[in-house]
């Protein structure tokens, strides 16, 4: 909160007429943008963090993609289908022809199989576990492949765009891991030029891109890394950069009012919630009335309005726009009297004492302040919080459980569900009870919901899948199972109106695909 006020004051000092933006040098247009965070990996088969996508999305592409409308569409896949053959579930993919890597090699199914082999190798890939339900990726021809499942199909592959990246096998074998990191080559609309770690990456338009209509409208792009909010904003104000991400929430309104600036606030891939330990027999949170008391105790709308400056979307279970979102499902109303009444009915007329764990690392804006506000609301309603502040490493170690979970109360938690907001993977992790490869962050045990989540994991057909998500969401809401959803944060991007920019959801909206000069033709 205090930080927000300071930022607002600082912003008022630096509200100035904006200097001239991009210089158009004919076809040699060069745009400089700034990101707040820097990826550590560019190779999609070795990635370990969501932030890595920021650079990966420049060079590499997948079989499917999500468009600006958040609808998934075929991309490098000309077509694909899920089917059963002799009792084996498969996804058959036909590749787009004529797609070339930046070194001129043509993309074939062998490259995608090579990606699969790298991704499932735990010695190389940190995502190897994701392929545990897949027996093989078979090449049927240069432009045809099959993903073969061990048992029922894994629907979690779908929101990941089938999770295969177009990487050039020949080049990888030639230059090795270090060579790839030093000079990545993919099929994407940008070619690598240079990188100075913790400073910048420079890329150039790939003129032989397979879809000439989707080519960026600028020749060269430099991405600067500026982690400090005020400095990034200053860089924009001084004209040193023409586009920035992560505009601090306290300054979004000022940006919106500034002439010559365009702003877009977009939902991030994180979904935030209050995790409640309903397993501990000594804990009052095992009683559904106490969990409902928690849900009634916090004024989430006020938190979004006053702490986040409106930069959050209130969620009930599934976020608006995501598959299976049910607009009829209403959040628990803010009603502290009702909370106290529920506590009394549960036999806790004098309230309860509980450990409340708060994440202090700014993975999302003002996370620490939001947590403190939520815990203050709980305390006011009789759920007295003993707040424990944790940095990210300690927080994630506390949340990840084994047979004896450490998190013994309430924790401010989050789970990335991708741009599409598909809850399949997150619910498998924090709603399904712990055990047999499920519920690594779960503090709930409900056999009926377990069964439904397991069915969801193998339901690929969109119609039944959405119906099942709605049904799980309804029960989850009613039973306050797997925590209390709070909000989905928004990330704000700002650019000069001399630029044309359409945000695409990959890489948390930092995909610099649809960018050009405002007066250049729209692809």
């Amino acid at each position: 909160m205090r930080r927000g006020v300071v930022e607002a004051c600082l912003c008022s000092i630096c509200l100035l007429p904006l200097p001239l933006a991009v210089a158009d040098d004919g076809d040699d247009t060069h745009v400089v943008v700034a990101f707040a965070a820097e990826p550590t990996q560019i190779d999609p088969t070795r990635t370990s963090a969501g932030v890595d996508q920021y650079f990966m999305a420049l060079f590499y592409e997948q079989l499917l993609t999500a468009g600006p409308d958040l609808r998934q569409r075929n991309w490098l896949a000309e077509s694909w289908r899920l089917f059963e053959r002799d009792g084996v579930w498969l996804i058959g993919v036909e590749l787009r022809r004529g797609v070339r890597f930046h070194n001129g090699d043509e993309l074939t199914a062998h490259d995608l199989r090579y990606c699969y082999l790298r991704q499932r190798d735990p010695g190389l890939s940190r995502q190897a576990g994701r392929w545990r339900h897949v027996a093989d990726v078979r090449v049927l021809g240069d432009y045809e492949l099959e993903i073969v499942f061990k048992g029922l199909p894994d629907s979690a592959l779908l929101p990941l765009n089938l999770d295969l990246w177009a990487i050039p096998r020949r080049y990888y074998e030639e230059v090795g891991n270090e060579g790839v990191q030093a000079h990545p080559i993919g099929t994407g609309p940008w070619k690598f030029v240079s990188r100075s770690v913790r400073e910048e990456i420079v890329v150039e338009r790939f003129d032989d891109y397979w879809d000439p209509d989707s080519l960026p409208g600028i020749r060269r792009l430099t991405i600067k890394i500026i982690p400090e909010d005020t400095t990034r904003v200053a860089a924009f104000k001084t004209g040193a950069v023409d586009w920035i991400d992560a505009v601090p929430p306290a300054q979004v309104a000022d940006f919106e009012r500034t002439p010559g600036v365009k702003v877009a606030s977009l939902p991030t891939s994180n979904n935030l919630f209050l995790a409640l330990n309903a397993l501990d027999p000594r804990s009052p949170l095992g009683d559904v009335r106490v969990r409902r008391a928690v849900a009634h105790a916090v004024d989430f709308d006020a938190i979004i309005r006053y702490i986040l400056h409106g930069q959050g979307i209130r969620t009930v279970q599934v976020t608006p726009g995501a598959p299976g979102h049910d607009p009829a499902l209403k959040p628990y109303a803010f009603d502290p009297d009702r909370s106290r009444e529920l506590l009394r009915q549960a036999g806790y007329g004098r309230g309860i004492n509980v450990n409340c764990y708060n994440l202090t690392t700014p993975r999302e804006p003002y996370l620490k302040e939001v947590g403190e506000a939520m815990f203050a609301y709980l305390t006011a309603a009789g759920i007295r919080c003993r707040i424990v502040q944790l940095e990210y490493g300690a927080w994630i170690n506390l949340g990840r459980r084994d047979a004896r979970p450490e998190m013994d109360g309430i924790a401010s938690w989050m789970w990335g569900h991708g741009a599409l907001g598909d809850p399949t993977d997150p619910w498998g992790g924090h709603l399904h009870s712990y055990g047999d490869g499920w519920g690594w962050y779960s503090y709930h045990d409900d056999p009926e919901l377990d069964e439904m989540v397991e069915t969801l994991r193998v339901t690929v057909d969109p119609g039944p899948k959405e119906a099942l998500i709605r049904e799980i969401a309804r029960l989850k809401h009613e039973r306050v199972a797997g925590g209390v959803p709070t909000y989905r944060p928004l990330v704000t991007l700002a650019w000069r109106d001399t630029l044309r920019f359409e945000p695409w959801p990959q890489a948390n909206w930092r995909m610099m695909r649809d960018i050009g000069l405002a007066d250049s033709p729209v692809p």
């Binding site: 010695g123 940190r126 576990g129 994701r130 990210y392 690594w440």
Partner: protein, 305 residues
């Protein structure tokens, strides 16, 4: 002198080893890095495989001995985050940090030496009062705040200097001021106090009686003798700037070692933290040794035995 050097180097090696051992154990007590490296839906088998791959499944003393053995061959392990050798990751950022620390120190000395001398010579006058105000401000305003103010006024409002990055000498000005601002206060006050003692001494009085110009008395004879405590401070602050410029590096998006090491601490990137601590400890030891040796140059009466 030779014995002194050998003794100091030996003490330095013990200090470096001690710092490494403490950091090695402390960061492992603080938590498991594997949960930060794997996706949230990773299985227990994935965790076990990753721990084994990183050598974190071995007993702590074994991990430490392996680390020492490898370190002696110049192998500090691979960064968990960057998946690249840890020490080169830091060494390639060292020039940026050295550049910033030297510029910050130069700024501090350029301001502190004249102010310290003048406030002692003109004790109680306006120069002295100005030095006191500056000292107060220097101690009261943290570097990151000074940095933000500099950005807002000199970069955004006046547009005289760039706000971020490392692309040329002009980019160095604001971070150097922000970094050098804090030690100015302490250096000024130390030099003033030391100068006041010296200016009251017999040999200064003798110099004046012999008709030496006041400028020579102050700047050549008094300052030289008053500079010994300042040299100590220079050593300490320079080493601190090398290791502690993190905040300034973040504010000005300066690609230095400090930022890399602090990021590594939060990411539980043990190899980078260990390499960073080793680098920092060696620099600290070397700078302090050089400072101690410089005493003899500043004041020939000081001998190392």
């Amino acid at each position: 002198m030779r014995t002194y050097l050998i003794r100091r180097l030996w003490q330095g090696a013990v200090a470096v080893l001690g710092a490494l051992a403490i950091v090695f154990v402390a960061q492992r007590l603080a938590g498991d890095p594997v949960a930060l490296l794997l996706p949230m839906d990773a299985s227990e088998e994935d965790f076990a495989a990753m721990r084994e791959a990183l050598g974190l499944d071995r007993p702590l003393p074994v991990q430490f001995l392996v680390f020492l053995r490898d370190a002696f061959t110049g192998d500090f392990g691979e960064s968990y985050q960057w998946q690249a050798p840890a020490m080169p990751l830091l060494l390639e950022r060292l020039p940026a940090t050295l550049e910033l620390a030297l510029a910050g120190l130069a700024f501090a000395l350029l301001l502190a030496v004249p102010l310290g001398v003048m406030s002692a010579v003109y004790r109680g006058r306006w120069v002295d009062r100005l030095a006191k105000v500056l000292a107060l401000l220097g101690q009261a305003m943290p570097g990151f705040w000074v940095g933000l103010l500099l950005i807002l006024f000199l970069a955004v409002r006046l547009q005289w200097l760039p706000a971020f990055g490392r692309e040329g000498p002009l980019h160095l000005v604001l971070p150097a001021i922000a970094l050098g601002w804090y030690p100015v206060a302490a250096m000024t006050r130390t030099l003033r106090s030391s100068m006041l003692d010296i200016l009251d001494s017999d040999y200064i009085r003798t110099g004046r009686v012999m008709g030496l110009p006041e400028r020579t008395v102050i700047w050549r004879y008094a300052l030289r003798n008053a500079a010994v405590p300042l040299a100590t401070m220079i050593g300490v602050y320079f080493a601190n700037m090398l290791g502690g410029a993190f905040v300034i590096e973040v504010v000005f998006a300066w690609p230095g070692v400090g930022r890399a090491v602090v990021d590594a601490v939060f990411a539980r990137d043990f190899p980078v933290v260990q390499a960073g601590v080793l680098l920092s400890a060696i620099i600290f030891v070397v700078v302090n040794l050089l400072v101690d040796l410089s005493y003899g140059l500043i004041d020939p009466r000081i001998r190392h035995g």
